[in-house]
């Protein structure tokens, strides 16, 4: 019998499989922190709850900024959250030599663009409505810290749900993203929100910071995601473990 955790804190005994510790940030208004923590656990790592107002990263090996409506998203999605003390730490760690892996999902992606860790921005969906659907994506870059377990060009089904999901950037930025292979995933088929060049997710130049509009953490358990069977999202979370292991191995050399 399991208790529901208060916030993104699955205070289970630490997993034996991997001693990787993945931080999950909770802001006031964060919604998917428990889901992100569950995904981390299913991937075999230990989720660590990070509170927006704290400034201690608790030695985590990677960080997930989950979806939701931080501060209600009344001003602009992610605009206020970006200034939280925890975000300053994350920004520094992501830019440091250690290149902390950071995954921003939905509102997390918006926070990453507001923080200038990723270029561009999100505006309202072109149809102006909230949209929730099962979404097929094409993996365009399988070399990032968060996508190395996918095949290049693989199509995966995850969940999409947002109101401000239209990715925009100026043409020069878009061209640069394409040229440098920094588009990580693209919407397959119908473009659900008007995003430039069907972009659903991008990475920074080092591949450690990834922002995604769709939600892989809602596709990690058979029966509770797309079409009741999909677990295509789980490899985002196992990828980062692979990345951490290879980093450790690299360091040991």
């Amino acid at each position: 019998m399991a208790e529901l955790p208060l916030i993104g804190n699955y205070s289970e005994p630490e997993q034996a499989l991997s001693d990787a510790r993945i931080g999950v940030v909770t802001f006031p208004g964060t919604l998917d922190d428990r889901d992100a923590a569950r995904a981390v656990k299913l991937a075999g790592a230990t989720p660590v709850s990070l509170w927006h107002g704290d400034a201690d990263l608790q030695n985590v090996d990677a960080v997930i900024i989950p979806g939701g409506f931080s501060y209600g998203d009344y001003l602009r999605a992610g605009a206020i959250a970006r200034f939280a003390p925890m975000m300053s730490k994350i920004i520094d760690a992501a830019n440091s030599d250690a290149k902390l892996p950071v995954l921003g999902i939905c509102n997390g992606f918006q926070i990453l663009t507001e923080s200038h860790l990723l270029p561009g921005s999100m505006i309202k969906n072109d149809h102006l409505k909230f949209i929730c659907r099962e979404q097929v994506l094409t993996v365009e870059n399988n070399t990032t810290a968060w996508t190395n377990e996918y095949a290049q060009g693989e199509q995966i089904a995850v969940v999409l749900k947002n109101q401000d999901g239209q990715y925009v950037a100026d043409e020069a930025t878009l061209d640069a993203l394409e040229a440098e292979g920094r588009v990580v995933v693209r919407y397959e088929g119908w473009n659900p929100n008007g995003s430039r060049r069907n972009i659903a997710g991008i990475t920074n130049e080092f591949g450690n910071v990834v922002g995604l509009m769709p939600h892989p953490e809602h596709a990690v358990e058979a029966g509770f995601g797309p079409d009741h069977t999909g677990t295509d999202g789980l490899r985002f979370f196992t990828s980062v473990l692979t990345n951490l292991v290879s980093k450790t191995a690299g360091a040991a050399k």
Binding site: Y71, G72, Y74, L75, I80, F83
Partner: protein
């Protein structure tokens, strides 16, 4: 080309959750001079050619019907900007 600016604000007696979120965030960023914030909308309507009385009247009516919700919002300003 001339533009007509329409400003719409939440009615003073109505809760403005957006302004509330901002006024909470400002002091955390060191902006301590503001006791309250309200967030409204600004529309810029572009007119081809001259802004006649009739066109201004149209803008005012559009402001009162489509651009604002009179149950919760006030049109605080309609003005021509060249």
């Amino acid at each position: 080309m001339p533009r007509i600016i329409v400003d719409v604000m939440p009615k003073p007696e109505i809760l403005d959750p957006q302004g509330k979120a901002i006024v909470g965030a400002l002091p955390r960023l060191g902006f301590d001079a503001f006791s309250s914030v309200r967030q409204g909308k600004r529309f810029e309507l572009t007119v081809e050619g001259e802004v006649t009385e009739a066109i201004l009247a149209q803008a005012k009516e559009a402001a009162a019907t489509l651009l604002s919700n009179p149950v919760i919002e006030d049109v605080v300003n309609v003005e021509v900007q060249d």
